[in-house]
């Protein structure tokens, strides 16, 4: 390990020089830690500061910190139909999550636990789909949805979202199902359960944390999606928050305060999710890749 503290540094004859080196490497290490945290959180902190600065202080630097805290930008955001954007985002992201989890959990159970041929082929196919460029499928989907009069509706987003959400669901859930010890299932079968009953009564309750992790990841992915939302919705009927924020600037005026406030409103729920479920999210994110 490079500079991860004393235990990793090979012993050096003189005690004095070793202490010196420990102290130095420790200092460099914590400096790096501070840089990482500042680098990750700093830019967003600046967005939060901007959102509570009085309008006249937005166009002067210094001061970096506001002379007084204001909520005017937040009020201004909700003078627009911002609540509708939020509602649309909640509906679309929840529906995508529920749909993918319900349909995906059966498939992931089969792929993770049942004896069948072609599992690897199916999983690699699904992985390949998750690598499709979104823009590559936009043109036919647009034409079809226009003909079916689906543009500007929730299904116009929920169904295309399955193209990235379903592969995500299948990969993460399959790896979770695979980790459940086979003995549990065997025991259920000896007790007279069919595979479906075993799935329902034994596997599903154990897999609940994995399902939950998957749900968080799918929800965040759907919540943040932009290209499909921009393409398939042109009115406030179904537009989601990312599109709403992207459209706040007009030709002549960029309302930086409102944009900052809107960004904070959209991001805070995600940051809370991340802080509360940190471990789960990391395990879900790396589940596919580590075994890959």
């Amino acid at each position: 390990m490079m500079i991860t503290g004393p235990s990793m540094i090979p012993s050096i004859p003189s005690i004095r020089s070793r202490n010196m080196q420990n102290w130095l490497s420790r200092g460099a290490f914590y400096l790096l830690v501070i840089l990482i945290v500042l680098g990750c959180v700093g830019p967003f902190a600046w967005q939060i500061i901007t959102s509570i600065k009085p309008a006249r202080e937005l166009t002067t630097l210094p001061p970096i910190l506001p002379s007084q805290v204001t909520v005017e930008h937040y009020i201004r955001v909700f003078e627009r139909p911002f609540g509708k954007y939020i509602m649309n985002s909640v509906i679309v992201a929840s529906a995508t999550t529920i749909f993918c989890l319900v349909v995906g959990s059966f498939a992931a159970y089969a792929l993770g636990r049942l004896r069948m041929k072609g599992k690897m082929i199916i999983l690699s196919m699904v992985l390949a789909v998750s690598m499709f460029p979104e823009i590559a499928i936009v043109s036919p989907l647009y034409v079809v949805m226009r003909n079916l009069k689906l543009l500007n509706t929730y299904p116009a987003l929920i169904f295309p979202y399955t193209t990235f959400a379903m592969p995500l669901t299948l990969w993460i859930l399959t790896s979770f199902f695979r980790e459940i010890p086979a003995e549990l299932e065997e025991a259920a079968k000896i007790d007279g359960c069919s595979p479906l009953q075993a799935f329902w009564k034994v596997i599903l309750p154990i897999a609940a944390p994995g399902m939950f992790t998957t749900a968080i990841l799918v929800f965040i992915a759907a919540w943040n999606e932009f290209l499909f939302a921009l393409t398939f919705t042109k009115t406030i009927q179904a537009q989601t928050i990312p599109v709403g924020i992207a459209m706040l600037p007009t030709m002549y005026h960029v309302p930086w305060g409102s944009i900052a406030a809107a960004s904070v409103i959209v991001t805070i729920p995600l940051i809370i999710l991340v802080l509360v479920f940190q471990r789960r999210i990391i395990s879900g994110l790396t589940a596919g890749a580590v075994k890959g």
Partner: protein, 303 residues
């Protein structure tokens, strides 16, 4: 194993294998309808002259691809995409490795560091772009202010309005947003390496550099390559980040394949040519994946 019969819904007796297929089919049907069919349809559309405005739809064979070969805007977008992808993925991998090594250390406040690293990952891309757009603002942006304060620049620069600087800004925003992803995957890889290996090496007198290059890097290589592949594909199809940050400007300096394709599709309504551009992206992504996957296979086989 097909002889193993199981009861389904209390009546039907099916083999476990068939039950498996039965459970898999709905999910696969969704993927087929929403991903495979549109991809094939895009291929078909790319062979046509389609304008949604003039309601034309005429088969023209490979004409769109000939247009593409001679289209300077396409070449510019391809060049920008490759440049953006190469530089940002290289930076992200290096920084991600440093971040992973730091997070792998035992120290107080490790949990807080991990949580803060997840912040850029969780923030919507659109918010990332608007945020950096504000930071890069010429007159009131934090970036100019800090750089001038610390005497890095003598006068304010027009970061997003200067064709030579805008791409660097887009790369910086992307690096900020996605380095945590690589870091977390590399961290997971680091944690699978047994401590005994390091200890054995230390007893043999290996210094930290030898331990780093002889033990850690080789063992990290397979998972690192997977992370790099995922990031490369993501960077190659970058859309929201650039569309919101610069809109492809100034003067197409940050125009990438996705944003160019989007404009051809929805500003000119030229769905035939737009689909041909989309197909070219699909083929590029497939080629990149194939090359990477073969490389990963080689690496894992040799080690």
């Amino acid at each position: 194993m097909s002889s193993r019969k199981v009861t389904f819904m209390g009546k039907l007796r099916v083999s476990e294998k068939n039950l498996g297929y039965f459970l898999v089919i709905p999910a696969l049907a969704v993927v087929a309808v929403m991903a495979f069919w549109p991809t094939l349809a895009a291929f078909w559309m790319s062979l046509h002259d389609i304008s949604l405005i003039f309601r034309t739809n005429r088969f023209i064979g490979l004409e769109n691809f000939k247009t593409m070969a001679g289209d300077p805007a396409f070449r510019n977008a391809l060049h920008n995409t490759v440049y953006f992808t190469a530089i940002s993925v290289a930076l992200e991998t290096l920084l991600g490795l440093v971040m992973a090594l730091v997070m792998n250390g035992a120290f107080k406040g490790r949990g807080a560091v991990r949580a803060s690293v997840l912040v850029p990952w969780a923030i919507p891309t659109v918010v990332t772009s608007t945020m950096w757009k504000w930071i890069f603002n010429t007159d009131y942006g934090l970036f100019n202010f800090l750089l001038k304060r610390f005497h890095v620049i003598s006068s304010y620069l027009n970061w997003l309005g200067d064709g030579k600087l805008a791409m660097g800004c887009a790369i910086m925003a992307d690096v900020w947003k996605t380095t945590p992803f690589i870091a977390l995957i590399l961290l997971a890889g680091l944690q699978t390496i047994s401590h005994d290996l390091y200890e054995a090496a230390m007893i043999d007198g290996a210094n930290w550099w030898q331990r780093f290059t002889r033990i850690m890097l080789p063992l990290l290589l397979p998972i690192g390559l997977v992370a790099v592949l995922l990031r490369t594909l993501d960077a190659f199809r970058v859309f929201a980040l650039i569309f919101v940050l610069t809109g492809g400007g100034p003067a197409d300096a940050t125009e990438v394949l996705s944003t160019y394709t989007y404009k051809v599709l929805f500003s000119t309504s030229n769905f035939g040519y737009g689909s041909a551009l989309a197909v070219s992206m699909f083929v590029s992504v497939a080629l990149i994946s194939l090359v990477f996957l073969n490389f990963i296979r080689l690496v894992t086989r040799s080690s």
